[in-house]
């Protein structure tokens, strides 16, 4: 005799739970449904469709165009959809926000793990290779956080670089890109002079290094002095330069982080201060920690 196993049914609410727990579980289910609708780009259609039904059905009944009383059912369904959707929309947005930050944060945590493993067990300093790979990981997070803060996951294209001071005859005359967020095909490890021919401080990374302030370059193609080689041909148009708060013995930043965008006028003071810097601050300071942990007096290596 064949034993028939009863079909398993999926219970939204498990039995023997308190009223408060049941309410929370149902709320989570509805939030998940609202999130699904939002993730599939249907939220505007669903909400506005329901709003139109809620307002149109009584109007049409009033004018005698709709006389069947069964039209009350879609009206009630639309009303419930609007109320439920609006009530749970904030929860769904919050979950989406947490997932977005969590995705980057988990990688950020992994970068710390990499550094821990690069530190010699006898308590020594980070090597050139160890500190550079740690900085590359952090630069990647900087690009991700900036894209998340400015909603630029797809466009414009962003890139993060780290410019370190180059000491010539005992003083710093220029900065040079030492690390990129990823191995871009067009990376050139560019040298950036601090001053123009008239001895004036150049904008962007040089100004950020010397003044220790954040600097925004609106368009590289219209930059004074044109100190970047082939500036008018560069695909990255706007630059956000952030000096590290960690200082060397002269009180100057250990390095300057640059976030480049291939769109002019992309960075604005308000969004940088309000959205970008709060997210970037832990990564920027972690990078200062990494550079501080390098072998004292070690110079930076660049590809020939």
């Amino acid at each position: 005799m064949v034993k028939v196993t009863p079909a398993r049914t999926h219970r939204i609410v498990p039995p023997s739970t308190s009223w408060r727990e049941r309410r929370r579980l149902v709320s989570r289910q509805i939030e998940a449904s609202v999130r699904w609708v939002e993730e599939h780009g249907l939220s505007t259609v669903v909400r506005w469709g329901a709003v139109i039904l809620v307002s149109a059905i009584p109007t049409l009944q009033n004018f005698g165009i709709v006389t069947n009383r069964w039209w009350l059912l879609p009206w009630v369904a639309a009303l419930v959809t609007v109320l439920v959707f609006d009530h749970h929309r904030h929860g769904a947005s919050l979950i989406r926000l947490i997932r977005g930050i969590g995705y980057i944060n988990s990688s950020f945590g992994g970068s710390f793990d990499t550094i821990s493993n690069k530190i010699p067990s006898d308590g020594g300093c980070l090597t050139e290779e160890g500190s550079q790979s740690a900085c590359i990981g952090f630069l990647h997070r900087i690009r991700d956080y900036t894209a998340f803060a400015l909603r630029a996951e797809k466009s414009p294209r962003l890139r993060a670089t780290l410019a370190v001071p180059i000491v010539t005859d005992g003083s710093v005359k220029a900065l040079r890109i030492w690390a990129y967020d990823e191995p871009h095909s067009d990376r050139g490890f560019t040298t950036i002079p601090l001053y123009d021919d008239k001895g004036q401080v150049l904008g962007g990374a040089p100004a950020a290094y010397l003044t220790q302030d954040i600097h925004i370059v609106e368009d590289v193609h219209r930059m004074r002095g044109g100190h970047l080689v082939g500036a008018s041909q560069r695909p990255y148009r706007s630059i956000l330069s952030i000096p590290l708060s960690a200082r060397d013995t002269d009180g100057k930043p250990l390095a300057v982080i640059n976030v480049d965008a291939d769109e002019p006028n992309f960075f604005e003071p308000e969004t940088v201060l309000d959205r970008v810097m709060p997210l970037l601050a832990p990564v920027v300071n972690a990078m200062g920690l990494v550079l501080r942990m390098r072998t004292p007096g070690a110079t930076y290596d660049f590809p020939r």
Partner: protein
């Protein structure tokens, strides 16, 4: 006055219009509050400064 109010008073933001873009100086003795999001007053201040800088630039 709460510590948060005190921290808000301690942070000073200065925005200067440069030839190539903008320079932003944040003065805050407390590194824990240095990079927090803008308050409503700070946001208004930043908007005014940017507007003023843009007007000076076009003029």
């Amino acid at each position: 006055m709460t510590s948060r109010d005190k921290a808000q008073q301690d942070r000073q933001i200065k925005i200067v219009r440069e030839d190539d873009g903008w320079s932003i100086k944040i003065s805050d003795t407390n590194p824990e509050t240095r990079n927090r999001p803008l308050t409503k007053e700070e946001r208004n201040f930043v908007r005014e400064e940017v507007k003023r800088g843009a007007v000076a630039d076009s003029g």
